[in-house]
Symmetry: D2
Subunit: 301 residues, 4 copies
C-alpha cells in the first residue's frame, strides 16, 4: 500500500481543479495525471505533467516536410512512416514528467538512460524512509544456468524462506542502525551523507524523471523487453500502459515496429531468402555462430 | 509583415478554443500561446507548447531535498538559492516548444546549442519561400576596428546604399535561378536537394525548437548578451520577454545572477580586495594580461 | 585539388615525427593520420586524432561483465555479441577527431547529429575562401518523380549546361560582392558577420568534428545509406573506409548487423512466417499499408 | 592496499611496452598511464587512455577563428581567453578515459554527470567483491548543525567506535548473506541480479568513465569544491592532479577562472561598487537576502 491517506488527499485535490489551457490536450493522459500506478511492493509511477499528443508529432513532421507531406493525408500513416524510417525528431516533440518510487538497485539501471532530466530525493539532505523491496515468493528466482545475466526457476521451500528471512532481517537491522547512527539523542549524531552508506540497495528512493517520447520509447524497448530484469520491467510496463493512453497512434506504431519487431543481420537475411527458395539451411552453412543461430532459430524455427 | 491572413486565422482559431487540463498552468504563458512575436523583417517566435511554471521548479527541488527544504518556506527564496548555487536540475523540469522563423545564418549559430529538439523545414523535401533578411539601415554596420568578431559604426551614405542594393539583387537573382532550375516546364527540373545550394544564407527557414528552462537560460545568457550578433540577439530578447511572463520568479533570479552578474577570476578577486583596502592597483602589478585588465576596468573602473 | 603545397608540407611534417606512447595504438589508423581523403570537388576528411581500438571495446565490456565474459573467449565473438544485442556503451569507449572540409548545405545536415564536439571555421571572425561545390555532370540529377526527397535521372544536354552555368556564375558573383562589401578600400567595409549572409549554401566551410564510435556508427548507418543525399553520403563512405582500418572487427559487425541488416515489424515477421509455411500472402491480407508492402517486397520479393 | 600483485604486474607490463604514434602526446600524461592513484581505503583512479593536449585546444580554436587568431600569438593567452569567455568547444577536443574504483554511494552522485561514457561492473552478471568503504576516524563527522547538506565536527570517543563497529559488522553480515544466498551448494542459489539488493551502499564498484575536458572541468568545479561530500571530493582532487600534468596551461586557467573564481550577482556588483566608492553598506540596504548576504560577506568581509 504505497499511498498514505495524506498522499491520496493531495492527489484528489490536484485532480479536483481543472483549469483552462490553449495547449494540446490528451484526454487519455488527463485521466492518468497524478494518479499512482502501484509497482512492486511499495513503488509507484505517477504522471506529473506532459506536453503534446499524437497530433503534435504530425504537426512537427509537417514543419519539416512542408507541403510535401500533404500526400500522406492520413495522420496514422504518417506516424507509422516516421517510426518505420527512424525519423525520430517529431517524437521528441512530446515530453512527459513522471514521479517514480523505486528501489535503489532499479534506480541504478534506470539512470543509465542519460537523455532525461532527474531530481532525486537526496539522502545527503534528508532522511530515508524505512521501506524496502522484498520480492514476492513467485519472483524469488534462482540464477539462470544458461545465461549469466538472468533468472532460472523459482526458489523452492526452505531456500525461499531462508532468503526472504535474510532480506527482511538485514534490511530491518540496517535501518535500525541507520537511525541509531543518525540519532542526536545523547550523542552528536552521524552526518546523513555518511549514515546512508549502511543502507542496502533494496531501499526505496524516489525521483522526478522527465524525458521526451523518442527517448522514452528507447527506454521501453530495452526495459519492457523479456530480457530486462523483472524489477525494472514492471516499471516499464506500467509506463507503457500510460503511453498507450497518451499517444495511442504512436504507441501502436512502436509496438509493431519496435517491441514486436526484430532486426535481421545480412547473414540472417541470406538464410531466410534461401529458406523461402525452399532450401534447408544448417548452422554450419549459415555463416552464423552457434549463439547467433540459436537466437535466430528461436524466432524462425 | 510576417503573418499572412491565413496564418492569423489559424492562430485565432487555436486561441479561441480553451480546453480543460489538470496540469500546471502559467497564465502569463497562456497569453502568448501561438501568437507570433515579430523579429527582424520576416521572422517570428511563437510559443507552441510549454510544461511547468515557477511552482514546478519548487516542487522538483522539494523532491530532492525532502522535508529539509521546509526551512526555506518562501518559494522565491528557494528559486533564487537554486540559481545562485547552480542547482540546475529543478529548472530542467520546465520545457518550452517554440516555432521560429529565422535566416539560415542565424539558424547556423542557434543549432550549436545541442541540448534541444529540432524539426526544421526540409529544403530536400519542399521548396523554400522567397523571403530574405535585408538589414534595416541602422543595423548595417562596418567591421569593428578593435574586435575581429564584432561591428563598428553604421555604414554611411553611398556605401550603405550599395550594400543594400547588392543584398537585394543577389537574393532576388539567386531565387529566380532557384525557381528556374527547379522548373519542370519544358525540362526535367533539378532535384530540390541540389537546387537549394544556390540560395544565400539570408534566406529564411523555420523550425520547431524545444528545450528545457535550464538550457534555455544558457542560450539566453550567451545570445541575449551584448557581444552576441544583433540578428540572433533580437530572437533571444523576444524569447526572454516571453520567459519573463512564463516563470517570473525564475526569470528574475536569472536576470540578477546571470544576465546582470559577472564572474571574477582569483586574480580579479585579489585586485578588488586590495582596492577595497584602499590600495591603488595597476595592470602591471595585477597579475592580469592587458586584455584581461581592459575587461576588468570596463566594469570596475 | 583540395590541398595546397603548404598544407601537404604541414601534413608531411606531422607524419614524419612519430613519438612514443603507452596508449592503445591502431596501426591501421596510424596510416591515415593527418592524410586528406578527397571528397567532392574541394572537400576532404582527415583523421586528426583517435582513442582506442578493437581491444579497447573488449576491455570495456569485460569491466562490465567481469569474469563472466571469460566464456566468450573470442574477442571477435564478443564484439559481434555486443553489436547484435545493442550493448552500445563499450563502443563509446573509442573516440575519433576528424578535420572535414564540406559545403554548408552538407554541414547543415551533418550538425543534426548532436552527440559530437564541433569547432567550425567562424565567418563572423574570419573571411571565407572562394571555394564552391559545383556538381560533376553525372551527379546533376533531376527531382525524383516518385520520392519527394530524392533524385531521379541525370540532367541531359542543354539543361545540364544551363544549371552548371547558373551555379558557377551565381557563386562567383556572390563572392565578388562579398569581397566588395568587405573591402575597406575607400569605404568603411561591411562587418564580416553581415557580409557572409550573401554567400550561397554551396560555399565550403570546415570544422573539427569529434565523436565516439557508437555515435559514429549511427551517423554512418544514416548517412552511408543509399537514401542519404549523395553529397553527404560520399563523406560517410570516406569515413567508413577509415573506420574499417581503425577497428576492423567492430566495423565487420557493424556491416553485418547494421548496414546490411534490416528491421522487420511484427506484421512483416508474420508474413514471412506464413510464406515460410508455404502460404501466398498478398498486400490485402498482410495487414500492411501499400507503402509498407512496397518496401517489404523490395527486399523479400 | 587496493592493488593486488597481479594487478601491479599487469600495470607494469602495460607500461613496459611503448609504441610509436603520430598523434599528439602529453608527456605529463604518459607518466600517469595505467598507474593507480589510491583514493579512500580501497578505491583508485587510473588513466586508461587520453586524446589531445594543450596544443590540441589551441589548434581547434584556430580552426574556428582562422587567421584572425594570429593576433593572439601566445598559446597560453589564447587558452586563458577561451576559458574567460566560456568558449567551451575547444576544450571538448581533449578526451580522457579513467578506470575508477569507488563506493556505490559515490558512484550514485558521480553518474549524475550525464555527458560521459560509462561501462560499470555488472552485479547482474558477475559477483561483487567483498570490499567496503569504512571511513577513517578523522572523516567520521557529525551532521552539520547549520547546513542540512553537510558535516560538522568529528565524532568523538565511544560514538565513533560504535559507528565504526556498526558499519563494519553490517557490511560483513550483508556480504556473508549475499554469498550464502548465491551459493549453489546444496541449494538452487539465488539469481545474482536479486542477491545484490542485500549489499549496502558502501560496497565498492568500478567503472570505465570517459569524458571530454570541458565536461571534466565542470565535474571538477562541482566535486573538488569544499561543499562537495568528502568521499567524492578526494576522487575529484586525484583527477585534478592528473589533469594538471596532462594540460598544464588549461588547468592553470581553470584554477584561476573557475576553482578560484566567484560569480557576482547584479546586486553584489552594486554593493561592491558602493563600497569601492567609500560607502558602508548593510544587509538591509543591499537588496540581498540574509543567506545571500552571509555568503557575500564570507568572501568580501
Amino acid at each position: 500500500m504505497p499511498l498514505t491517506p495524506e498522499q491520496q488527499a493531495e492527489i484528489d485535490a490536484l485532480r479536483a481543479t481543472p483549469r483552462a489551457t490553449l495547449r494540446a490536450v490528451s484526454e487519455g493522459m488527463e485521466a492518468h495525471l497524478y494518479r499512482a500506478h502501484e509497482v512492486l511492493d511499495h513503488g509507484f509511477v505517477r504522471v506529473i505533467d506532459y506536453m503534446g499528443d499524437d497530433a503534435a508529432i504530425v504537426q512537427a513532421a509537417r514543419v519539416s516536410y512542408g507541403a510535401g507531406t500533404r500526400k500522406v493525408n492520413d495522420d496514422s500513416g504518417l506516424i507509422r512512416y516516421l517510426m518505420r524510417h527512424w525519423h525520430s525528431t517529431p517524437f521528441e516533440m512530446c515530453e512527459v514528467k513522471l514521479h517514480v518510487k523505486l528501489p535503489i538497485f532499479v534506480a541504478r539501471q534506470w539512470i543509465r538512460h542519460r537523455t532525461a532530466n532527474v531530481n532525486e530525493y537526496s539522502a545527503r539532505y534528508s532522511i530515508m524512509d524505512r521501506e524496502f523491496y522484498i520480492p514476492a515468493a513467485e519472483h524469488l528466482a534462482a540464477q539462470s544456468t544458461v545465461n549469466n545475466q538472468g533468472r532460472g526457476a523459482t526458489l523452492q521451500g526452505d531456500e525461499a524462506a531462508r532468503v526472504l528471512e535474510i532480506l527482511k532481517s538485514d534490511a530491518a537491522r540496517s535501518y535500525d542502525h541507520y537511525e541509531e547512527m543518525l540519532s542526536q539523542d545523547g550523542q552528536q549524531g552521524l552526518a546523513r551523507e555518511l549514515a546512508r552508506m549502511n543502507l542496502p540497495a533494496n531501499i526505496y528512493t524516489q525521483w522526478y524523471w522527465k524525458t521526451d517520447l523518442h527517448n522514452l520509447f528507447h527506454f521501453l524497448r530495452l526495459r519492457a523487453d523479456p530480457h530486462a530484469q523483472y524489477e525494472i520491467r514492471v516499471y516499464a510496463e506500467a509506463i507503457a500502459r500510460v503511453v498507450a493512453d497518451w499517444v495511442p497512434v504512436a504507441f501502436g506504431a512502436f509496438e509493431d515496429y519496435r517491441m514486436g519487431g526484430v532486426t535481421l543481420s545480412a547473414k540472417a537475411i541470406a538464410v531466410l531468402k534461401r529458406r523461402l527458395a525452399g532450401e534447408t539451411v544448417t548452422q554450419e552453412d549459415s555463416g552464423m555462430s552457434k549463439g547467433e543461430w540459436r537466437e535466430f532459430t528461436e524466432i524462425w524455427g
